[in-house]
Amino acid sequence: MGRTGQDASGGAWPGFADPADALRIEGLRKSFGAHEVLQGVDLAVAPHEVICLIGASGSGKSTLLRCVNLLETINAGTIWLDGQVITGPGVNQNLVRRHIGIVFQSFNLFPHMTVERNVTLAPMKVLGLSRAEAAGRAAELLGRFGLADKRADYPDRLSGGQQQRVAIVRALAMRPRLMLLDEVTSALDPELVADVLDVIRELAEGGMTMLIATHEMGFARDIASRVCFLADGQIVEQAPPAQLFSQPSDERTQRFLRRITDAGRM
């Protein structure tokens, strides 16, 4: 627990020293066996900021999100949520997770429950809402994202895009302070991507603090307050999208963006 903001390295971004950070990560390391996926990640996210994480497959974007949600046990480093340490011993993980919503690439809806039950389960069992309160919260969110008529359906009756929007609604029903989106459009057919991106855009406009791992460069350029490029287990470059996409300074970023451009994905 010896780490404080004072000895933080790599504090190039001005927001890094701000005590009012919504999320702050310092020296985060995570290994799977002998393979160290995250090799000292530092990141600070201000309230209402939308951060897009880009990088090649296997660069650690998903792992970083899963560490923030405490789904992975980290090997070193500290994470703060709204100024409170959420890593290390003595932390109530269930309490922390209430405040951090995560949406996965493969939706991970509960297949044996209706859409409504998917959305109301956690508010009822975790927050102690009554069935009526939880159903009201679900109806409001489902309505807002064009899913009102899917309330009683089971997930396998929905398209991928609808399932992913339900997954977003399920996370939002907990009224999280921070949303983590893990390549949420990667498993979708191309024509369904736009619907989901619109939902995320709406969340950003509503002021939701978000950490988004994505391969959609156009979307990242559109929506991000800041884009972070991950390589070799670290954030090697971070900047507002206009700057990062047009004048990347790190050689690895330049190579990555060139490959994306060559593949026609920009």
């Binding site: 899963r66 789904l71 269930n94 209430r98 919503g101 996965f104 991970n108 509960f110």
Partner: protein, 292 residues
């Protein structure tokens, strides 16, 4: 023994009836009747057939064994079967509960539960590794010998059920465990990421999906359990098998065993067909799901 009609791609496929349309049905029915008739004729003409029929399938003996006559020293197998059914139902309910508890403990990860995990693992290893009949004898003859007030004064059927529960819960807990492991890890991640505690996500997210996956193997174990209630007769309970034995002791005719066998079949075959039906339905659902 099934006839194969002309290939007809539109025909519905059934494992028992085989492929083919109306023509296939006619062919399969005819061949079934012919084959059965041949088997019956062979049985009737075989050397020693008369003796076999007299000893095992004598209608008069079968009827007497079925209705019983305590004055002549034997009991109704039909009534005795009722004890098998009661033992089966009670044992099944207790097994479903005990096995679930054992499985959930073995799947737990909390450091505090380690001693319980060790106990559960040892229990499963021992109960699966020891012959059922040994457990039945150990409890059925051992418990009365303890001369403890409540434990030693139960009926043989109670000891029998206790032994069945001990043995079968170990097997069924492994079935549960397989079911829990069959639910994808991403479901656990999704549940826990919403802040659901471990037990709540087990209760509402994992177990409902796990149990759906294991209904066929569970029913398979219960078919086996229905038959194994006959072993309790070894402790002196008048269940169907014991009643059949008493009849043959009194009359030197073994048709009573045929009666008991038929009664057990009447119990187990519907359960077996129901299991097949569930497996087929599950396969259809998986195919439909994969088609999306």
């Amino acid at each position: 023994m099934e006839a194969q009609g002309l290939p007809d791609l539109s025909a519905r496929h059934s494992r028992i009836l085989g492929t083919g349309g109306r023509r296939g049905l006619v062919l399969s029915t005819t061949s079934t009747v012919v084959v059965l008739a041949v088997l019956v004729v062979l049985f009737l003409l075989a050397p020693g057939s008369r003796e076999v029929r007299h000893t095992f399938f004598n209608p008069t003996d079968m009827w007497h064994a079925f209705i019983g006559d305590p004055k002549l020293g034997y009991y109704s197998i039909g009534e005795a079967l009722w004890l098998n059914i009661r033992m089966f139902v009670v044992a099944e309910i207790l097994i479903l509960i005990l096995a679930l508890v054992v499985a959930v403990i073995r799947q737990s990860t909390g450091p505090v539960l380690l001693p319980l995990r060790v106990v559960s693992t040892v229990y499963v290893d021992v109960a699966r590794g020891v012959p059922l009949i040994l457990i039945i004898f150990a409890i059925g003859f051992g418990a009365p010998a303890l001369e403890l007030r409540i434990i030693s004064s139960q009926s043989a059927a109670v000891y029998g059920v206790a032994a069945l529960v001990l043995s079968y819960s170990a097997y069924v807990s492994e079935v549960y465990r397989a079911g829990i492991n069959s639910v994808h890890r991403s479901q656990v991640a999704a549940a826990r990421s919403l802040g659901l505690p471990a037990w709540t996500s087990m209760r509402y997210v994992i177990l409902p999906q796990a149990i759906r996956n294991i209904i066929p193997p569970l029913l398979n174990d219960f078919i086996s359990l229905q038959k194994d209630t006959a072993l309790v007769g070894l402790l002196g309970s008048i269940e169907a098998n014991k009643a059949a034995e008493l009849y043959s002791d009194a009359t030197f005719n073994y048709s009573s065993y045929a009666v008991a066998a038929i009664l057990f079949l009447i119990l187990t075959i519907p359960l077996a067909r129901f299991t097949d039906h569930l497996i087929a339905r599950d396969q259809a659902r998986r195919l439909a799901g994969a088609g999306q």
